[in-house]
Every structure is written in structure tokens, then in C-alpha cells.
């Protein structure tokens, strides 16, 4: 059977099996940026945007997205012209093995489109469904904060940071702890 949807801004028709999941169809057709991590929607490595919302493509039946708009990592910037979120991840060295990064960047993009000026705690909550094993998330959260500034035009997109942004961190603790503030 055929399924038709918009992929990275272009109308596409794919020959699929009824039982196919979106990730299978993407990867089979060369869109290998989305990674297979668990096949149960539990790691976020396969995150793509469906009508602007982050979805785990490994548990999304392809028949369900007929007529939808799908965005994958391949639809963002190129190596010579990175999207601000990609640029921020590169500048901050927020990536190591990189297997979670395409999904993480797609979630971060959706987060910033929804909330262009998030606090660190909001970034953490927004990326809660995307696992990363290499970084301890520190530089990832920092990159998303940087990307927010980049996209809001607060920092020139020249690839370098004039000042390292410093912000008080949210502690997230239930007992109130003196000296710590939630933004």
C-alpha cells in the first residue's frame, strides 16, 4: 500500500506494509539520521516531529501519519549551514558518540518553538524523554539555552561565544534549600 505525507517540506509517497512503523520506512528510504535504540518508544533516539510535535517514530504506525507533516534531522541545516540548535550543540561540544543527538536536536527544536525563552529547568523537563548516556546532559542543556539566545537574536551566529552564559541553576528539590532558587 501507499502512504503519502510531507517529509521535510516535500510531498512524498512511500510503498509500505500496513504493519510498518514510521522509523522503518524512514530508514529503509535512506533517512538514517533517526536512530533505532529500543523499538518501544523508551529512549527518544528516533524522535521526529509530526505536525510539529516530537514523536518516537519507532512506535508510530506509518499509516497513522497519512497527510501529516514530518520533519527529520535531514530537514534541518547542512554541515555548512547549521540550524541554530545544531550550531549550539557543535559549539558547546554537547555531543559525544552522537547516537542520541538527532532525536535530542529534534526534541530541542520543538521545545524552543513552543517556548522560545525557557529556563534551564524547563529545558530539562522538555528533554526528559530523550536519553543520553555520554554527556551527563550538562552541555546538552547548556546548548539548548544557547540555541534559545541564538534564535532570539541575542547572540550572533558566528560560531563563537563572547561570554560563557552563566545562570543560577534550578535545583528541583522538594525540601527548600537556602541559596538555591528556581528560575
Amino acid at each position: 500500500m501507499n502512504v503519502e505525507f510531507t517529509l521535510n517540506g516535500k510531498r512524498e509517497t512511500f510503498d509500505v506494509e500496513k504493519s510498518d512503523l514510521l522509523l522503518d520506512v524512514l530508514r529503509r528510504n535512506g533517512y538514517t539520521g533517526s536512530k533505532r535504540g529500543c523499538d518501544t518508544g523508551a529512549c527518544g533516539f528516533c524522535t521526529v516531529l509530526v505536525d510539529g510535535e516530537p514523536e518516537n517514530s519507532c512506535v508510530t504506525p506509518v499509516t497513522k501519519i497519512e497527510g501529516s507533516e514530518v520533519e527529520t534531522i535531514e530537514g534541518l541545516g547542512t554541515q555548512d549551514d547549521l540550524h541554530p540548535v545544531q550550531q549550539a550543540f557543535v559549539n558547546r561540544t554537547s555531543l559525544q558518540c552522537g547516537f542520541c543527538i538527532p532525536g535530542m536536536i529534534m526534541s530541542a527544536k520543538a521545545l524552543l518553538e513552543d517556548n522560545p525563552d525557557p529556563t534551564k529547568q524547563e529545558v530539562r523537563e522538555g528533554l526528559e524523554d530523550n536519553l543520553c548516556r555520554c554527556t551527563g546532559y550538562k552541555k546538552i542543556v547548556e546548548a539548548v539555552m544557547d540555541a534559545s539566545e541564538l534564535m532570539n537574536g541575542e547572540v550572533a551566529a558566528d560560531g563563537g561565544w563572547v561570554d560563557e552564559p552563566t545562570r543560577p541553576d534550578a535545583c528541583g528539590i522538594e525540601c527548600s534549600t537556602p541559596g538555591e532558587t528556581n528560575e
Binding site: T32, F45, T93, Q96, C97, C175, T177
Partner: protein
């Protein structure tokens, strides 16, 4: 009382003479190459956080991991593995007929098939011969855990292969399993291995008692010191016990291998591995195929953390390639990752110590019982690190004993996991030290400061298992431990912690000191080759295996620092057994220290030719020239020539044409320790036992940090894994040994919201034996959080948690006592 004969604590003139002799035998000085020690202002490359070599292709999704190569093979077959669903017994029969008749199934293999080697081997990706028993087979008939591979299928797609697995029926003859490792050595425990089931047995093996190995070492006289303590009021004995669980690597990219026979009739593998050269050798031995006919190519790897210091899927793939003569891909499922790949060893560790009133450590006696699971890859060597990594934090302790038993059980296979035994050891040592400090009425930092390692110490403990006592000592030539403690203490706010307003909430801080190593002393090899293009750029081949940490970037920075060019001028090719020089692989914190030194020496070799051509062009003596800023300049006349001019002249200039190249190998007896201090700030609710981490600080001395941002990334990622071991990592099994932790949903891998604020501090020292003064960093920070958290909880509410993970229930129960 009179001192026993040969008292190791006796301070005599003979002792002083020995000290002088030792200074000569283990000098502080080390002859470094002239360029090795540079002030920060003189460094052109290594101290910059240059962009990670593969950053852009990762950010755009173009980086290709093993599974992404599938689209290159139109006739690719997809493999699946049938695994034992009993913990212990024998496969009496597998009915494969229904599976074999299915459309789209190309092959079903069992141990009966000729393509499946009838050989014992180990999956441990170690040097030859592996310090690990050969105790497993590619497909098993005697199954020893739920997950043991017993048959495999290759089919036209993964769904068909899965269906074929479900059509196979297996008859077992069950045996009683060993499921509690504390009971594995009991005389009446069921036995896992019969005579003839194991070759290449290791030290102290006793398979009648399910013991893979027993290791032991001692310096000084531990028993005499404990006996002495019994008679002295000013010496104190402490004994503590600690327990750690299974931990999963949670490797982002599941183990994946593609194998095929190429047009030259050779077997090529694209595979997610940390050890391409070991894998090639081990496949060669197992299948009796010459090394030259096997090629192992490592693409981007979605991390390893030790889990891919192993040859797990490659033999099954090769057997299926031989059977079908098609390219075959095998990709582990996440459930297989959580049940049938590899894990951190659960351990039970006991530590006894003698300490004097004034806080001097007189003796330490460490015993570890390690559960290696059904088979023993890395079993003995991991257990060794339990003692040899953390105990040298206190190297002036004159009497030290360390013993470990490594036992088999009918549970999943433990093997290499970042830290490699050191995290279990650190939990015991650094929590024990805290207890002793409190008993002495001393601040835990003050007590540590009396005893911890300093520059100039002669450490005999790291080599305690070595046998040759004299040959195994290590002079500590770089150590920033004091500064790590001072700066970390300041950052965590040790001295001015404010308590929460709520009476039932209490805030505390804890510290743990960390040590590791830089490669395996005397058992390592890195090699590199570099060639110059006519435009003055370079192509460098290194065997060093980047599995994500950024070592490819580090290699380009080291070469650039030597040659005086930009790191971007160096194109890097890594880890292809046909193309790149030999390397043992990325493990044991060796890549920067060992392979990085090979890269530096290769670049120096090339620089020699560059200077030769520059001298010709400038008509000045070679000795007057220096390479900097992409040119070679005369220090006498100031004249210069660009690398591009040298490139064109050397290749197109005339009858003397040559390509400027450099090559080098590096191996060493040295393995200097990086040092670190982990701090944890925690708030505990005494009503519920619930706790929240407020902040973690890690201060690290890895010598000169090459690419500080990448080094910080290693520390923050290492702390993440350490945090998990402390608070949430564990595997659960039912009473039959059936795994209950099958995926991320059941396993407690920390998410963004589970991480407290983290601060990373780099303390620079200069390690003269390392490239530009560098030591390793990757494993060091996996050691700190469990003891630092246990110590912080003690500081907050006065109870000691001695088993991991630390839970609210355990704290609550301890508070009720």
C-alpha cells in the same frame, strides 16, 4: 610490647639506605622530548576546545553507524539469535524444521552445523593470550543462563527472522542453577563447568567450587599489624562491608555487526567495536581463517563504555555468512542488551584497616567477592582493579593485603564496564575512610589529607598483584590531589552549608577521592602514520578507536601541536585493520596516553622531514628552524617557508622527490594515575528517607587536559554513570533466574530531570610520560558518586548506607534502627 621481627613499620638506618636506592631505581625525573612541556601560552592547539572532529556530521544525522550501512547491501540478510530460556541445563534437541521451511529463511544454524566452530574461546577483547578463561562457545549446548545463544537464523528481513525463531522448539534437560553468588563456592552448590569445559584457565581457578580465579597480593605484614593493634590503645581497627549490584552499559547504539565475503574472497566486518584488531585475531583463531583474510572496519560507534570491548555478535555473523554466502547483519535488540550482552560485576567487598590516633593509616586489608555470571570474560582483571585502583590513593600505608575471588553463577555475563572494577573498590575504600574519620573525630577531608597520595610518592600498591615486588612499584610524577580537594571543597561550599528551614530535612556533603590508571602498564600498543599532501595538509591514520569520546579530535590536535599547523589541516582515518596501524583498542583509559603518544611520535617523525626540506629551501641549518603557525621559521634570520611550499617542493621539486611521512609505535611500562575528588551535596528528609541531590562537583587532575571541553564531557558523562550506580542502577531476576529488567522502562537510567546541577573543575599538572603532559580521564569519574553520596547522607542524618543503590527505604530503615 615488643615489635615482631621484620616489622615493616620499623624506621631504621637500613630503611633510609633502601629509600636512597629506591630513588635511584624509581627516579622522579623522566627524560621527555624537548617539545613535551609547554607553558599554556606556548601551546598552539592542545589546550583549545577545537570543534569535535565528527560534530557536524553527528548534528546533521549524516554520521554513519553500523546499521546505517545496511542500504549498501541490496542482498543483505537479517539475523536473529535463539537464546536459552532456562538458567542452567542442556539442550537435548532443537526442532528447526518448521523455521527452515519458511519463505525468506536462508539459514538456521545450531552447534551441530559445520560452520559453527567447535572451539572454546572468550568474548573478552583483550591482548593475546587473553587473561581470561576460554569458557564459551559460539552457540551453546550446555546453557548457563537465561540468554545463552543456542541457535541463529538469517532471513530476508528482521520480521521473518523473528517469526522463524518462534517456530523453533527446544527440549532441555534442566539442572539446578546457582543464583546467589555468595553461595557459589559452597561445597554443595551445583557446578557450572565440568573438566574439559574450560581452557586457558586463570590464576587460582577452582571450577569444582565455581571459582574462575582467586588473586592475592600483599606488601608489608598485614596480619602482624592487626595483631599489634590488638595490644595498642592508640591504634584502632575498623571493619566494613559493601555491596554493589549489576549495572547495564545502556549503550545507545545496540551491538551491531554486518559481515560479508568480498570480491577478493576475504571476510569484511563493519562492526560496532572498541577492539578491531583483537576481534580480527580472535575471529582468525576461532574460525581458522588467516588474519590477512579478515578485515574489521569501525564506523562511527554509538559508544562502548567497555560493552564493546568484546567480540559478541561477530562470530555468529561469520558463521551465517559462511552458511549463506550473503552479507548478514545482526543487531541486538534492547531486550538483549539488558539480558544477554554484558554488565558491571556485582560485588561484595570487605575492608579492614588499622589507623593510629593521629590519623595515620597503618594497614588495609581488602577482600572482594565478584560475580562474573555465567562466563568469565574480564573476570580476573576487573577484580584486580577493585584493589589496585583505589588503594593507591593512600600509598604511604605500609601494610596492605588484597584478595579477590571471582565466581560463576547462572546469571548474565559481567565483563568490562567503564571503571572496570574500580567503582566497586572506591565505594568500599572511600566510604570506609569516611567511617574511620568520624570514629577518630576528624573531619573527613583532614583525615584524607594526612594519608592521600602526593607528587613524589613511591606507590607499591598498584603493583600489589604483580609478584615481582621491586619491579612493580610506581613513582608518582604528577599529582594534583590536594588542589582537587581544595577547589572542589570551595565549589561545593563544604564549610558553609545552610540547613533547610524544615526541621525534618537535613543537608549534608560528602567527598570521595578517585584514582585510576592510563592504559595497562606493560601490556599496550598504539601506532600511527601521517603523510603530508602537497598543499601542506596531512592525512593521519591511527589505530586508536574513537567510540564517541573525541579521541579522533585529540589525535589531530596532538599532530598539529607538533607540526605547528591547525588541527583542521589534519584529516583523520581511524580504526580499519586494513588501513590503520595496529592498536590494542580503546579500553583501560589508554587512547590519549598510549595511542596519543604514538600520534605525537609519528608527527615528530614527519616534522624531521619537514625541517629537512625547509632547511633546503631556506638554505639554513636545520637546527635553527622551528615549525609554528603553519610555517617553518628560522630563529636566526626570521626567514620562513610555508608548509604548502614544502609540500609542493618535496613532491614536485625534482630528482630528490619524496612524500613527507612519519610513523611510530608506542608502548610503555608506565601507567600514571589521573586523580580526582567527587563532592556531593544532598538533602535528606528524615520522615520519609527521601533524598535529593542538590549539586555534584568533580575536580580532576588528568595532567594537561587536551581539548578541555572534551575532557569536561568525559567527566560529566562518567559522573552520570556513577550517579546511576549510586541511586538507581540494578537488574532484577525471579527465583528461576529469569531477568525482570528488560528495557529502559524497568531500568533506572537517569534522565535530564534526575541530574542535579554539576560543576566540573580541571586541575592541571604535568605528567612527563604522557603526550604533552597528559594523563587519561575517561574512567576516573565513574568512581565517585556512590561513596560521596553515602558519605553525604551520613553527614546529613548520621546513618550509613552500605549497599547500592541508595534508596529512601534503606535510609528510612536505617533511621529507625
Amino acid at each position: 610490647m615488643s615489635k615482631p621481627a621484620g616489622d615493616p613499620n620499623a624506621d631504621t638506618e637500613t630503611g633510609a639506605a633502601e629509600a636512597i636506592e629506591e630513588t635511584e631505581q624509581y627516579p622522579m625525573e623522566f627524560e621527555e622530548s624537548e617539545n613535551n612541556r609547554k607553558a599554556e601560552s606556548e601551546r598552539e592547539n592542545i589546550s583549545d576546545s577545537v570543534e569535535k572532529y565528527d560534530a557536524r556530521k553527528i548534528a546533521t544525522g549524516e554520521a554513519r553507524y553500523t546499521a546505517d550501512f545496511s542500504i549498501n547491501f541490496p542482498d543483505l540478510l537479517h539475523a536473529k539469535v535463539l537464546r536459552s530460556d532456562i538458567a542452567h541445563g542442556y539442550v537435548k534437541n532443537i526442532d528447526t524444521s518448521a523455521a527452515e521451511e519458511m519463505d525468506g529463511v536462508y539459514a538456521v544454524i545450531t552447534p551441530e552445523d559445520d560452520v559453527v566452530p567447535d572451539e572454546l574461546y572468550t568474548s573478552a577483547g583483550q591482548s593475546y593470550p587473553e587473561p581470561t578463561p576460554w569458557d564459551m562457545r559460539v552457540l551453546q549446548t550446555h546453557v548457563r543462563y537465561v540468554g545463552d545463544p543456542i541457535a541463529a537464523v538469517a532471513a530476508v528481513d528482521a520480521a521473518t527472522a523473528d517469526k522463524a525463531l518462534r517456530k523453533m522448539s527446544v527440549e532441555y534437560e534442566e539442572r539446578e542453577p546457582v543464583l546467589d553468588y555468595h553461595e557459589a563456592m559452597d561445597p554443595d552448590a551445583p557446578q557450572l563447568f565440568e573438566p574439559g569445559d574450560v581452557e586457558n584457565k586463570q590464576t587460582g581457578a577452582d571450577y569444582e567450587r565455581n571459582r574462575e580465579s582467586r588473586i592475592a597480593g600483599e606488601i608489608g605484614n598485614v596480619d602482624a599489624t592487626f595483631e599489634q593493634a590488638e595490644h595498642r590503645d592508640d591504634w584502632h581497627v575498623h571493619e566494613t562491608e559493601w555491596e554493589t549490584p549489576y549495572q547495564s552499559h545502556c549503550i545507545p547504539e545496540p551491538h551491531t555487526t554486518i559481515g560479508y565475503r568480498d570480491e577478493d574472497n576475504r571476510y569484511t566486518f563493519v562492526t560496532a567495536t572498541q577492539v578491531p584488531n583483537h576481534t580480527r585475531r580472535q575471529l582468525s583463531h576461532l574460525f581458522d581463517i588467516p588474519v590477512r583474510d579478515i578485515r574489521v572496519h569501525k564506523p562511527r560507534v554509538g559508544a562502548g563504555y567497555g560493552g564493546k570491548q568484546a567480540m559478541i555478535l561477530e562470530p555468529i555473523v561469520l558463521a551465517l555468512v559462511l552458511e549463506t554466502d550473503h552479507p548478514v547483519k545482526l543487531e541486538a535488540t534492547r531486550q538483549e542488551e539488558f539480558t544477554a550482552m554484558r554488565f558491571r560485576h556485582p560485588m561484595s567487598v570487605t575492608l579492614r584497616s588499622v589507623v593510629s590516633d593521629d590519623g595515620e593509616l597503618k594497614a588495609m586489608d581488602l577482600y572482594a567477592l565478584s560475580n562474573t555470571g555465567a562466563y568469565g570474560p574480564h573476570g580476573m582483571t576487573v577484580a584486580g582493579n577493585v584493589g589496585t585502583k583505589p588503594l593507591p590513593i593512600y600509598p604511604r600505608t605500609e601494610n596492605v593485603k588484597f584478595v579477590a575471588d571471582i565466581v560463576n553463577t547462572n546469571l548474565p555475563i559481567a565483563a568490562a564496564l567503564r571503571g572496570y572494577g574500580a567503582p566497586q573498590g572506591h565505594f568500599a575504600v572511600e566510604s570506609h575512610i569516611d567511617e574511620v574519620a568520624h570514629d577518630l573525630g576528624m573531619d573527613p577531608i583532614e583525615f584524607r589529607s594526612i594519608n592521600h597520595v602526593r607528587e613524589g610518592d613511591l606507590d607499591a600498591i598498584a603493583g600489589i598483584l604483580g609478584g615481582d615486588a621491586e619491579g612493580s612499584k610506581r613513582r608518582v610524577r604528577s599529582c594534583g590531589m590536594s588542589e582537587c580537594i581544595a577547589r572542589g571543597k570551595e565549589a561545593i561550599g563544604w564549610d558553609d552549608l545552610e540547613q533547610p528551614e524544615e526541621d525534618h530535612c537535613h543537608r549534608g556533603v560528602g567527598i570521595a577521592l578517585n584514582a585510576q590508571g592510563s592504559g595497562v602498564a606493560g601490556d599496550n600498543l598504539g601506532a600511527a602514520h601521517i603523510k603530508m599532501n602537497e598543499d601542506g595538509s596531512f592525512i593521519m591514520q591511527v589505530g586508536g578507536v574513537d567510540t564517541g569520546s573525541g579521541t579522533d579530535t585529540m589525535f589531530t590536535q596532538i599532530a598539529a601541536e607538533v607540526i605547528g599547523c591547525d588541527a583542521e589541516s589534519v584529516v583523520l582515518q581511524s580504526s580499519d585493520t586494513d588501513i590503520t596501524p595496529f592498536d590494542y583498542g580503546s579500553y583501560a583509559s589508554s587512547t590519549t596516553y598510549i595511542s596519543g603518544q604514538a600520534a605525537k611520535k609519528a608527527a615528530e617523525d614527519a616534522l624531521d622531514s619537514i625541517l629537512y626540506w625547509a632547511a633546503k629551501l631556506l638554505e639554513e641549518p636545520k637546527d635553527d628552524l622551528e615549525a609554528t603557525d603553519g610555517v617553518v621559521r628560522s630563529t636566526v634570520t626570521g626567514e620562513h617557508v610555508t608548509l604548502e611550499s614544502i609540500g609542493y617542493e618535496s613532491i614536485y621539486g625534482g630528482p630528490e622527490n619524496e612524500q613527507v611521512m612519519g610513523e611510530a609505535s608506542h608502548s610503555t611500562e608506565e601507567s600514571p594515575s589521573p586523580f580526582g575528588a567527587q563532592f556531593v551535596d544532598v538533602t535528606v528528609d528524615e520522615e520519609t528517607g527521601e533524598y535529593e541531590l542538590n549539586k555534584m562537583v568533580y575536580a580532576a587532575d588528568c595532567g594537561v587536559a587536551i581539548n578541555p571541553a572534551l575532557v569536561e564531557g568525559q567527566i560529566e558523562g562518567g559522573e552520570h554513570m556513577s550517579l546511576e550506580l549510586a541511586v538507581s542502577g540494578n537488574l532484577e531476576f525471579d527465583e528461576d533466574g529469569e531477568p525482570q529488567t528488560l528495557g529502559f522502562r524497568q531500568y533506572g537510567m537517569p534522565r535530564t530531570t534526575d541530574h542535579p546541577d554539576m560543576e566540573t573543575i580541571l586541575v592541571e599538572t604535568h605528567e612527563p610520560t604522557g603526550p604533552f603532559g597528559a594523563k587519561s580521564i575517561a574512567e576516573l569519574p565513574t568512581n565517585g558518586v556512590p561513596p560521596a553520596l553515602s558519605n553525604a547522607i551520613y553527614d546529613a542524618v548520621g546513618v550509613r548506607i552500605s549497599t547500592l543503590p541508595v534508596t529512601a527505604e534503606k535510609i528510612s530503615a536505617a533511621l529507625e534502627e
